[in-house]
């Protein structure tokens, strides 16, 4: 098997060189640039010490947590419904719910504009009903809608697979032992799909933290971390701050994904 080992090493070499040259080296450079600004090493913790950046961090974390909670709640209801019921049109419904899986953030932003923008559907609907004009696309609420739109299909795919693997006999046993509907849900069903909830929740959270396309389409006025990094880099040419903030952002998303992978026990394929 010696020659096979040599071939394997030869096969790994291009991958290693590519990742070293275009990922590891640039990351080292990023860390270097972050520490080379007028504030020196202090820039690394600017996200915590600079009140404006800290406020942005808190807002981004809160938004991501809200998106995760909402997506998981909707996703669980829909996944349980679709996995437990067979009816005419179900495959079509599943397709509709999972098709936007790979819509990029910019397109999702445009969907929010069409839904809740100045010429949006909700705007004309609320006008028609005489309830004033609903326009929330260009605010934190629009961003929230966009991230839920972005993450819902992914979460659904994972949750539906998990619900289908769940043994219905467990729930029946709990019922026959006298547990109520809510108790079965709380004590049997939800713990059963907990790893899937954890995994898809982590991806939804990480995506909402780092996504840039949706925020970019909706407005430059929304203070989330990704927009701050972008403005610092392109408009203010403040490379050190942009680098330091993106390191902080990268550490947060990486930690969330790694944590969920350890808790949920492998098999978590992260998606950008």
């Amino acid at each position: 098997m010696h020659s096979a080992d040599r071939l394997a090493r030869l096969f790994l070499l291009p991958l290693f060189l590519f990742v070293a040259a275009f990922f590891l080296l640039p990351m080292v450079r990023l860390v270097g640039v972050a520490g080379s600004g007028p504030n020196g090493m202090a820039e690394y913790v600017a996200i915590l010490t600079n009140p404006r950046h800290f406020a942005t961090l808190v807002a981004t974390l809160a938004l991501s947590a809200a998106v995760t909670a909402a997506t998981l709640a909707i996703g669980t209801v829909v996944a349980l419904f679709l996995a437990r019921n067979r009816f005419w049109g179900r495959p079509l419904l599943v397709s509709c719910l999972t098709l936007p899986l790979a819509f990029p953030g910019v397109v999702v932003g445009f969907m929010v504009i069409l839904l809740a923008g100045r010429q949006g559907l909700l705007s004309s609907l609320s006008m028609g009903l005489g309830m004033g004009r609903w326009v929330f696309a260009y605010s934190m609420a629009g961003l929230f809608a966009g991230y839920v739109y972005f993450s819902l299909p992914r979460v659904l795919v994972t949750l539906m697979a998990a619900v289908e693997k769940l043994d219905p006999a467990l729930e029946e046993a709990a019922r026959s032992l006298g547990a109520g509907r809510f108790e079965v849900l709380r004590d049997v069903t939800l713990p059963g799909i907990a790893p899937a909830l954890m995994a898809s929740g982590a991806i939804a959270f990480a995506t909402a933290m780092g996504a840039f396309g949706t925020a970019f389409t909706l407005a430059t006025r929304i203070d989330v971390l990704a927009m701050t990094i972008y403005t610092e880099f392109t408009l203010n040419a403040n490379f050190a701050t942009a680098a330091a903030l993106s390191i902080a952002l990268g550490l947060i998303t990486w930690a969330v994904l790694a944590l969920s992978r350890n808790l949920a026990g492998g098999g978590v394929a992260a998606a950008g």
Partner: protein, 263 residues
């Protein structure tokens, strides 16, 4: 188990609402792309003018995106498929570390990745100005998907015993790779390829930072049109994007159902 009627009604309501939330804006965008004046509604007439204008204005972005997607696919095939075999055939600490490092770019936001690339290589003008700069970013971002898809299939078919069989018949390692490993990995390669092309065509986070005025991809053009064009043109452009991406997504769905584990 019979579902309670009220529970059923509630679940159905949430499901339909979610489907409407996802599909209605997409439908509105398709309709707007064909409507003469969206503000006045469909009564203003249907037209193909907006689509024609988009093709006249933005066809270079469409071709560039297709080119970069195919280039990304070629690069990920060459880099990831042989490596996936090497990693699966002898699971070790080193193999774990390599897999972990290659997968890292997915966990790091595209913005950070793009900044790092610009800071490291932005000074090399020929590279910075060429589509190869975007290509590099896309390869970095999609590599893990190809690697994982192929590794999952190779692990599922127990490639090691198949290879041992071929080896006992006197096949050299290279022969085994081409005649045993590749045919068995076909499903994973196809699933990975669909994923890579879909992701590359839609990639924006990295691309927006890496592009130059002469290297605009489709999503970059989309962002431009959302910011500066009338709604009908932006919608028609989105429509063109849907025409490109939806067949890929449908293929991914179909394929995911038959192979299951490859995702």
């Amino acid at each position: 188990m019979k579902t309670h009627r009220l529970t059923f009604a509630f679940q159905l309501f949430v499901t339909l609402l979610a489907a409407a939330f996802l599909m209605v804006p997409a439908g509105a965008s398709i309709l707007a792309g064909f409507t003469a004046n969206y503000f006045r509604g469909v009564s203003s007439g249907l037209t193909l003018d907006w689509v024609k204008q988009v093709l006249a204005l933005y066809s270079d972005t469409i071709w560039l995106s297709i080119g970069i997607a195919l280039g990304t696919l070629a690069a990920t095939l060459v880099l990831a498929v042989p490596a996936a075999w090497a990693l699966v055939r002898r699971p070790s600490r080193l193999a774990r570390i390599v897999e972990e490092v290659v997968t890292l770019p997915v966990a790091v936001p595209g913005l950070a990745l793009a900044l790092a690339l610009i800071l490291a290589y932005g000074a090399i003008r020929e590279f910075r100005m060429s589509p190869a700069f975007i290509l590099t970013g896309h390869v970095l971002y999609t590599l893990p998907f190809m690697l994982r898809a192929v590794m999952a299939v190779l692990a599922a078919v127990d490639i090691r015993s198949l290879e041992e069989g071929a080896a006992s018949l006197g096949a050299s390692p290279l022969q085994r790779f081409f005649h045993v490993v590749l045919p068995n990995a076909k499903g994973g390669i196809l699933a990975g390829a669909l994923m890579v092309v879909t992701l590359s065509i839609g990639e924006f986070n990295l691309t927006w930072m890496l592009h130059t005025p002469l290297t605009k991809t489709l999503p970059v053009g989309l962002a431009d049109s959302y910011a500066s064009m009338r709604l009908e043109i932006a919608s028609a452009y989105t429509l063109v994007f849907f025409v490109m991406i939806v067949p890929l997504l449908l293929a991914l769905q179909l394929f995911g159902r038959t192979t299951g584990s490859a995702r």
